[in-house]
Symmetry: D3
Subunit: 248 residues, 6 copies
């Protein structure tokens, strides 16, 4: 099985295929690509908008290269709908997948994200996905995406905001609100336990989407073509080469 | 006052500034632009995605050129959020505006759009805008955007679907589901009256957004910067020239 | 164009046509009337109930006098439904209109009103209008309507409650919860900016309803006769003279 | 115990205290009053508006006369909120009470009312009462209130619409949508059984409200003064005599 | 009339028929039973699960013994659905009934229960019953069911949590969240009044359900057989004797 | 990895571990158990109630036997909550899991189940799980569980109801409403394609829950202990042996 991860930003090296090696099943091959054209990071609707065309190109390229499923490595789920329209395989967004998995495990969940500016976007996604009734809150650590590498600062802030989410907002599970927090779920769980909060699921969205992708491929399930109809063929000046034959 | 209309497709001549002349106030100057890069028409999330970057560029250009408000000429409201982030003026989407105006006039409304493929997108917008409780249904005339110029066929289908919306779905008002239907509200209202359906508001979204834009400019109101924060400055390979200084 | 404002209380001079002169378009003539029979101010369902008959009479009188639209000058929107049933022109309530305009500009909004006693009524209106999902909170300044003329006290309280709405309730826009706060939007916006809250729309409901009324008249739109059917003709002892021929 | 019924219309004899004799407990005394000023029947928001002042006066009069609870005899629940504000006893609306009782007995319910024109009003009440999720539909028999006395025609129409509600809308219980249908629940239940629909609760709203009023009096429960605060004392030109001392 | 109370726990003497004597109408005979098999108290889904079979057996036994209605004496409403399926009489749950009665009296209500562990269960019930929109909060006094007999400790905690519910969560009425708090409504109401919170309904669920049961029996109403169809006859190893002929 | 399936009925052989062999990963060991005490099949709340105690016993037994996750083989998800309270591993219900997976793949889904009598139960589950907004409908094939083995009749009915769900209810995906339909997803998909309905996901709930269980075990995720607190230790007459030490 081949699962391909598209990191929809132009900052190379932010994510690596190796990050998924330990979580992938032994029979799963991990693919990975980053954008050539687009934003250095995604923290606004503007950033997301200019990430879309090349993200879709990379999703298409992944399917043409033999991928059985694609995971988009950004909590805005950029290109998930369009990517599903132009392919026949599961294209998973980490916000979509992780919110559903959180709702499978807990009565309510909070998302802890990077900046206040993305809170409305994540709340809108929860509403669109029909899960606003399970969303306790969206909180932010107030750290830009590209500064998340200062892991000590990030973990301290994640711990504080997670505890506020539990105590003040009634969260029963925590979902990371940026795929740049990847790999920190165990550390946060341990910190929460040390503070007396045991048994709180901490959900790492992109890793979760990766594992659910494997399950969907095994099940032979793909997105509905009623929801994601193949786009009609038409002129697309400025994009013709990139998207040749993506449409019906 | 200067209100600028951005038609976010690359099919030139589909909409003209002249289309807004009769509805604009005598002291309103109408601006208009179309895309250089993007889809011939918008009928899918894919089409919308590749329309976004140049739509945002045209919105920015309009503000820099002195526009007091921008109206996006497509029922998917492409670029409305991003356009609001990078400007300080009202940027209105016709779906957003017309659904709210429909809810101001009627207990429930239906949207009659072009193709089945855009129904989920319009339902998602109604949900995102918080108006799904007022949405009786979304129906389609099954005519692609670029074939709407066959006005007889379109009017016949609009009439039939509008009556089904009223009779079967309980609609108390009709909203056009594609800005390409612009200018046909009076004709549909007359047809409905001739069939015994008097007093049903028929809402022409882009024209409605244009008039609401004028009102908002007079009121000195603009989108909230809490919802639409200015994007942080960062590298955007492939777009640097187009969006120079759009971010904070 | 003639837009008529009905102030549905018997305290004369509380509102004057002159208050709308600066906001009205140059070609808009402002009409105004107050009640002969009814409450001195509206702060309860009881007050609203006894305001209704004469409010409807004044709406009818306005249409018969040539008004193209009527704006009701009270945040309870008293008589909006009945007024729409007995006329053929737009009859706008400030709560209805301003909540929709707030939702056009922001992810969420709070209403800051006069007294705790009207909070359930305003929450019920938001629910009826389908906008409870966008309502962050309703807060009160704890000042009765007829004491709002002490503008210093009112502005101080508006500032404090607005900041609580933003900080504690997540409001992205502020809507005045009493039309007696008319004219104070700029002052509140400046105070909020001085406290570090820039770009928060402050919506003055009756003025907003006035401008939206102008736009609807231009658009040729009126309330749906499916939602607001003309009342059947019947005996109405005690009211016959006032409402002669209002019904079908 | 004294339970007082206010029939909020000026058509005298439409309802009689005797109608409640068989359902009242042996220790319950039934009071009854009708309006002096107001509409002959209630079939619109206009009718309801002009019924309000005298309805409230009659509710007040009932409490002053020693009533332990008041039941309003109209499915629009006119004056329920205001009546609760000016008294200290349970004031029950039949729509409010019967919708809650329907939800106590069934997964979903439909209301079958008199005319299409009141459908939006009843849907709005269900929404305000928080029960729209249990409301399968509101249907009408298309018979004006004052023609309901033609019981054969009414029963035939009630039977047909109830079966459509069950079959097409998924109703598990039927609620009468006009208090003028009072006394016909058993007959409808028998007709439904004869058509193969056994075990469908048929709820007679005003009779149900009467019995729930008795239970609430026994329980010592009355409406919350947080929801229904006593109105502040103020001038009410044209109403002073009627409402003397109703306010705080 | 015979109303039977089933206390679905094996701790005998926790509830007695005598507890209902003062509230029952003079013509109502009170029946009572407790479990032989099941948990000592109900504070989890596990406790509830093992209470179900014998609770249903006791409901069946009550109907066979001539009861006109059954009230289940636990806020989890265990066996309400199954009990309705296997009988033809009203089987009332105290959570179901009291939440509806709270919504009849107030704009919003809070439930104050025993332990944090049952909060999700009560929130789920409010959602299932369609009343989540009226639920301000569920709070707990942090006292296990079988320690509620320390009435001083319980009353102090009830008072504190009720005031928090009013002040912080916006509750307009209080519902006891455990039937073990039975009989304390007057005391809590007095304590709240002494703290300045007048006119707040305090609802005692099992007593309320008892009185609503009497009203429903008088009205001849029973649960819908569309919602609660008679179970099909089938083998039930381990339960055959207990449930003989309960199914169709 | 060891995933254990509990078939919560006493009809032995209805489900076999072998049914999961083809879908399990090569490194997954499948366990299976059936009830000793309980109903022959589950088609009502009554059936479900008497299935609960032994289902929980079998879940406990599975964890004690080394299972890493448990899947309950019934669309009512009986014992899911209680099973999660008494164990520390993922306990998955097929309704819960498959509705979330359906929402991951499609804008809307319908459940096609066995009998009308279980429709309210499945609608209630969708509401409890927060997914009612994505549920297009629940339909039934009108075949009792134990007659599903007549596969021709079942497939014909599944095909017809699925097409009605798509055409009349707007379903974009189909979920089997009984785990007894296990193994028929491919056949239904082929039949739908033959009728012109391509690209409609057909979701086999128990198989889907099995695969999601594997993914959750890999991710190290388990249900939240805030939602599913360990039950307090107490007397449970009649059950002591079975549940020894299940509680805290």
């Amino acid at each position: 099985m081949r699962v391909h991860v598209v990191t929809p930003i132009t900052t190379h090296g932010f994510t690596k295929a190796a990050h998924f090696a330990s979580i992938a099943r032994s029979d799963t091959e991990v693919g990975h690509s980053e954008l050539d054209v687009g934003p250095a990071s995604i923290e606004s609707e503007f950033d997301e908008a200019i990430a879309l065309p090349d993200t879709i190109a990379k999703i298409l390229e992944a399917e043409r290269g033999g991928a059985d499923a694609v995971v988009i490595d950004c909590m805005g789920d950029p290109g998930m709908g369009a990517g599903r329209e132009v392919t026949s395989i599961p294209v998973l967004g980490p916000a979509h997948t992780s919110m559903h998995v959180a709702a499978l495990l807990a009565h309510s969940f909070s998302v802890v994200t990077v900046l206040d500016s993305v809170i409305p976007m994540l709340e809108d996604l929860a509403t669109k996905y029909g899960l606003d009734g399970k969303l306790a809150s969206v909180r932010s650590v107030d750290i830009p995406v590209l500064e998340l590498e200062d892991e000590g600062r990030m973990m301290d802030a994640l711990e504080e905001e997670s505890i506020k989410a539990i105590e003040e907002d009634g969260a029963h599970a925590i979902v990371f609100g940026c795929t740049g927090m990847r790999g920190c779920a165990d550390a946060l769980r341990e910190r929460l336990e040390a503070r007396g909060y045991e048994g709180i699921p901490v959900i790492d969205p992109v890793v979760t989407a990766f594992k659910i992708a494997e399950a969907l491929v095994d099940l032979g399930l793909a997105p509905s073509s009623r929801t994601y109809a193949r786009p009609r063929d038409k002129a697309t000046p400025g994009y013709d080469l990139a998207f040749e034959r993506a449409t019906a």
